[in-house]
């Protein structure tokens, strides 16, 4: 029990460049004296700024009334002294009470406003949180699972462990893992309420109540440090514009000696025969399209470097290819159709591509499908599975 208190230490920091004062962790002092240093840091920080002062509480996990009153008091006093300043409290949509509590300050001093920091934190978010992604995710997981069920044990998956699947999407992977490996605990986190609702529905349809689906932001999770033997994050590092930030969080919640397992693609290496040239052209363009939206779908082979830079050791990397021969070729074709719809139908349009470009772009997907369904054809989608150990 005592580790719970230690695992989320309280931190107060001020960054003069962004004029942002941030509070993180658990702060439950008996009296304001215990946080006197942070209180004066806040007071001094306010004295040195102009314009807008930010108070970032996105990573504030717990704060008792004693601390809230003390910090609120400094802000309210400052409002009275400095009518030239605006105060913006930045909360996260994940920790609901911060928005409520800090929201009251606006009723007392209108100079203080609360902003809920949410969907805009990385550029491609609106595409991937779209519910039209749900059917693709289903079929994708079905096809990757054939490979991953044998790969996972080589990366530390075993029965009885405590695991977390971060960016779990619609939760299929958690369900499959639960059945195959019987972990003692599974937490599955995602930032799409629609996907989570779907996941909970599917689970309850099967009478499954022991997967802990939770709404959260993978780059600032409520989950405590050093909790999980195995942390998975599949096909998601590649859609963050700052994969290193996300990896840091995965590292943080992993137990020392535990492992973090990630899968990523290298989209330009999708292939097919016949019509390989057109297919290759299109997937090279897919990579460029994603990078326009600051996502790196070429990340797969970079996994080793990312894991090493994040501080992991005993890094293991392998790759596998999902192909049209894995099962029903129509499944493969369905995935490609869904890609075509989102990549050509939405993302390219959003980038402002010409009609000619989009037509040629679509053709490569159609040719990939043609290869997948051709009686002598071969179509592939390569994936890199990698894991690293958090040093103990």
């Amino acid at each position: 029990m005592s580790t719970a208190a230690l695992s989320n230490p309280f931190k107060a920091e001020f960054d003069p460049n962004s004029q942002e004062f941030s509070l993180a962790g658990v702060v439950r002092p008996r009296s304001a004296d215990e946080i006197a240093a942070s209180i004066s840091m806040l007071r001094e920080a306010i004295d040195g700024v102009r314009g807008t002062f930010y108070i970032n509480v996105k990573r504030l996990v717990q704060m008792n009334n004693t601390a809230f009153h003390a910090f609120a008091r400094v802000l309210l006093d400052a409002c009275r002294r400095r009518s030239d300043l605006r105060f913006v409290v930045v909360t996260s949509s994940v920790v609901g009470w911060t928005e409520r509590m800090f929201g009251h300050l606006n009723k007392i001093e209108p100079q203080v406003t609360v902003e809920v920091y949410d969907s805009k934190f990385y550029p491609g978010q609106s595409f991937v949180e779209d519910t039209s992604f749900i059917p693709i995710l289903r079929t994708q997981t079905k096809m990757t699972w054939r490979h991953e069920r044998t790969i996972l044990p080589r990366h530390g998956m075993r029965p009885g462990i405590s695991m977390a699947d971060i960016c779990c999407g619609i939760g299929d992977f958690a369900m499959l893992v639960r059945k195959e490996f019987q972990p003692a605990r599974i937490v599955a986190l995602d930032h799409s309420k629609a996907s989570l609702a779907y996941a909970r529905d599917v689970a309850s349809g099967f009478g499954i109540t022991d997967i802990e689906y939770t709404y959260g932001d993978a780059s600032e999770m409520l989950l405590e440090d050093n909790q999980f033997d195995f942390v998975t994050c599949r096909h998601s590092l590649q859609i963050f514009n700052q994969p290193d930030v996300l990896l840091k969080e995965l590292y943080r919640i992993c137990k020392p000696g535990g492992r973090v397992y990630i899968t990523n693609e290298k989209n330009s290496h999708c292939l097919g025969e016949p019509r390989s040239k057109s297919i290759q052209w299109t997937y090279n363009e897919v990579a460029k399209l994603f990078s326009h939206f600051e996502m790196d779908v070429e990340l797969g082979p970079k996994s080793r470097r990312y894991l090493a830079d994040a501080g992991f050791d005993d890094i293991r990397v392998e790759s596998f290819m999902v192909t049209n021969l894995d099962g029903d070729p129509q499944d493969f074709a369905d995935i490609i159709t869904a890609w075509e719809n989102v990549y050509a139908g939405e993302m390219a349009v959003k980038r402002g591509d010409s009609r000619e470009f989009i037509e040629r772009f679509r053709q490569g997907f159609r040719d990939h499908i043609f290869a997948a369904l051709h009686p002598k054809g071969y179509a592939g989608w390569p994936i890199w599975a990698a894991s690293g150990r958090k040093p103990s």
């Binding site: 005592s2 719970a4 996990v61 717990q62 008792n64 809230f68 009153h69 009251h104 802990e212």
Partner: protein, 172 residues
């Protein structure tokens, strides 16, 4: 339909978890409030729709209650805390020894959480007090956690704060 509604209204609160502790032991370390609230919250939240966030919310509320009893109770006797559930609501019953001179204080503080001017009082407490009073803490629970608070005085010298927290509805 009327019957169904009546049944729902009368559906019992089911016990989930409880602890009892010597008051002296409880008061020996301030961290007990944090540790107990974190632990209890995690235990009772596992089968809520979003266990992680439910637990975070519940821990916030329970910690404030434990802090109230930490600050106001006498060292003799026992502190007891029991959590019940009915539908989307958790009920906390927190029992602790209350010095006779403080009973009236609790009666008033609790009844103020239900008055029309509760919000104004709460704002006033934030803008004027450097440290929150126990009364402000109860107002915080009523306002930020939609808590309904009652007092049970049937077992003197202890009193029991009965706090209904409809957190499942707030969390999801």
């Amino acid at each position: 339909m009327a019957v169904a509604e009546q049944e729902r209204a009368e559906a019992p609160f089911e016990p989930l978890l409880q602890f009892e502790m010597e008051m002296g032991t409880f008061l020996s370390d301030w961290q007990h409030c944090d540790q107990l609230s974190t632990f209890m919250a995690r235990m009772i939240s596992h089968n809520r729709a979003d266990p992680v966030r439910h637990s975070n919310f519940f821990s916030s509320a329970l910690n404030e209650l434990l802090e109230v009893s930490f600050r106001g109770a006498s060292a003799d006797g026992q502190i007891g805390c029991a959590v019940f559930r009915q539908g989307s609501t958790e009920r906390v019953r927190l029992t602790f020894p209350c010095p006779p001179g403080q009973r009236q204080f609790y009666r008033e503080a609790v009844s103020k959480t239900r008055r029309g001017n509760a919000y104004a009082r709460y704002l006033d407490a934030i803008s004027t007090d450097f440290a929150p009073s126990r009364e402000a803490v109860l107002l915080d629970l009523a306002i930020n956690f939609d808590a309904e608070i009652h007092l049970d005085e049937s077992d003197p010298p202890s009193i029991t704060l009965v706090v209904d927290l409809p957190l499942e509805g707030i969390v999801s």
